[in-house]
Amino acid sequence: MSTLEIRDLHVAVEDKEILRGVNLTVNSGQTHAIMGPNGSGKSTLAYAIAGHPKYTVTGGRVLLDGVDLLELSVDERARAGLFLAMQYPVEVPGVSVSNFLRSAVTAVRGEAPKLREFAKDLKNGMDALSIDPAFAQRNLNEGFSGGEKKRHEILQMELLNPKIAVLDETDSGLDVDALRVVSEGINRFRATGDTGVLLITHYTRILRYVKPDFVHVFAGGRIVEAGGPELADKLEAEGYEQYTKASA
């Protein structure tokens, strides 16, 4: 059983306050969806939890199983069991997918995986996400299509097997087949049991595959309403107008 606790989190970017007191608790076994208008601070929340250097935490706490993540470096947070699937995964020239994944798995597990075992896990992981095995030799994200990048984020999540995964618009830019494949990946991950998911999205489309337990509305840098899955349908029908007005 794991818990991610976000307590009154305030975050600024270049002296501009973006997050204004976010409170959220994600337990393993739960899936929380965060929905909100463009620019409301959803990615800021994701990056701040992961420790991106551009985002300055000006107040609040983020605890993973009682450990203050804000005290840890980016890599320490990942090794503590946090995973962030990024909205825009970066291209890293010269670093091959397989080399990168082996380094990441080694770091997170604390020991190098046996080569044959790793090769098998990688192959199975790629198969399950319909990723061509040739990608293992390609440079990380370099020249990947939007959808290919997102599949690789999920592949990384499954291989690293974190306690809590934050998925920032992993569904954006996916065609119907890719959305299904990626959703299946998320569901496999959820089915392993002791994991929590925080899923940031604009669309209810993915929520039909990945059923959330809770839906939060994010506006003006904080959570302004919380409810069950039915809230997502209401948002889709009515939009965010009532919330953006209220938070302005």
Binding site: D75, A78, V90, G94, F100, S103
Partner: protein, 373 residues
């Protein structure tokens, strides 16, 4: 320009065997403006007396002949004329030259390795000729180490249809000064592959040049350098396309770390009027790992004919990308290892092209060692 006159290149027009034809550089000249002259220990102004010694050990392929000859040997100095003061100084100062010959149609069964070891104190001047006769093939490795103040000229004379691959490692001790000119001359359909690796030395200024005597020549010049605090590592390339239908490709990459680490890369390519059908590309990239390091990168592409098959250049110097490091760290990889992965990737793509496997490994681990500092 008159109707019957060919347009002339403005680059490197001056050449002479006579030291007196070159003024002592002051640092204001285009060719010298990046080089810290005071650190040349007199190689540029005639004050570096030939009192030192750079020992040469040769481990040659059995198909190859190795000779030590006097200045008057007919094979020496035929493929080039010095184009700067230090090259002319080296030409006028060496006593014995080494001539490596790969006989016609011979295929060398192993690399010929020349180890040059600087034995400290005083300057030394050298001259080497590598002559690959028609249709022959060879790999030659130059391995520079030790402590030296050394200026030399190297002639790579690649015959018709011949193939020469050269790896030149500048792995000097911290106090070494090395000014070197590599002159490659390619006959019809000759292939030349040069891989330069510069890691050690206080000041290294290496000028690889390529000249073609007939169509069909193909030159590939790659280089990797890692500049530490206080080091000045300079590479000045010149590819002179004076013949039709020849190819050249230049790719130099460097990483810089530490205070006053200074890399200079000059890439001059001339495509002369008669060189129609030329295909050339040159690239320099620098990765600046810390504050206080500086990279100067100047590509010059001078096209005097309208009939090129392809001509391009690119130069980019930048910081290690924070977003790359963040991404790798967000997957649990510690900062230092993330940095190593990115730099290793950046240089490794090129290092993989080194023609000799043991050298690939040695260069890769040298880069690792630099990164671990």
């Amino acid at each position: 320009m008159g109707l019957n006159e060919k347009p002339l290149s403005t680059l490197h027009e001056k050449s002479s065997y006579d030291l007196g034809d070159f003024d002592v550089p002051t640092g204001r000249e285009e060719a010298w403006r990046f080089t810290p002259l005071t650190r040349l220990k007199g190689l540029h102004n005639g004050k570096a007396e030939a009192a030192g010694h750079v020992r040469l050990d040769v481990d040659a392929a059995p198909e190859v002949t190795v000779e030590t000859v006097g200045r008057d040997d007919a094979r020496v100095g035929k493929s080039f004329t010095p184009t700067d003061r230090v090259s002319a100084q080296a030409w006028n100062s060496f006593e014995k030259a080494t001539v490596i010959t790969v006989p016609r149609e011979a295929v060398a069964s192993k690399p010929t390795v020349l180890t040059l070891t600087g034995e400290g104190d005083g300057a030394a001047y050298g001259h080497l000729v590598v002559k690959v006769e028609p249709l022959a093939e060879a790999v030659v490795v130059l391995d520079h180490k030790g402590s030296a103040v050394y200026a030399d000229n190297i002639e790579f004379v690649v015959g018709e249809g011949a193939n020469l691959k050269v790896v030149s490692l500048q792995d000097w001790d911290d106090d070494a000064v090395h000014v070197s000119h590599h002159h490659a001359q390619l006959a019809k359909d000759a292939t030349f592959r040069s891989f330069v690796v510069t890691l050690g030395g206080d000041l290294v200024r290496l000028s690889p040049s390529v000249a073609y005597t007939a169509p069909g020549g193909d030159a590939d010049l790659s280089g990797v350098y890692f500049v530490d605090a206080g080091q000045h590592l300079e590479h000045r390339l010149l590819v002179d396309h004076s013949q039709p239908h020849c190819k050249s490709n230049v790719d130099y990459r460097g990483a810089l770390q530490g205070d006053r680490a200074h890399a200079v890369w000059i890439g001059d390519v001339i495509i002369r009027v008669e060189a129609e059908g030329t295909d050339t590309y040159e690239l320099n990239r620098n990765l600046i790992l810390t504050d206080g390091a500086r990279a100067d990168s100047v590509p010059n592409l001078e096209i005097l004919t309208g009939e090129v098959a392809g001509a391009g250049h690119a130069s980019a110097s930048g910081r290690l990308d924070d977003e790359h490091i963040f991404y790798l760290q967000a997957r649990g990889i510690p900062h230092d290892e993330a940095r190593r992965l990115v730099v290793r990737g950046f240089l490794g793509q090129l290092i993989e092209k080194i023609h000799v496997e043991e050298l690939r490994e040695r260069v890769m681990s040298a880069v690792e060692a630099e990164l671990a500092r």
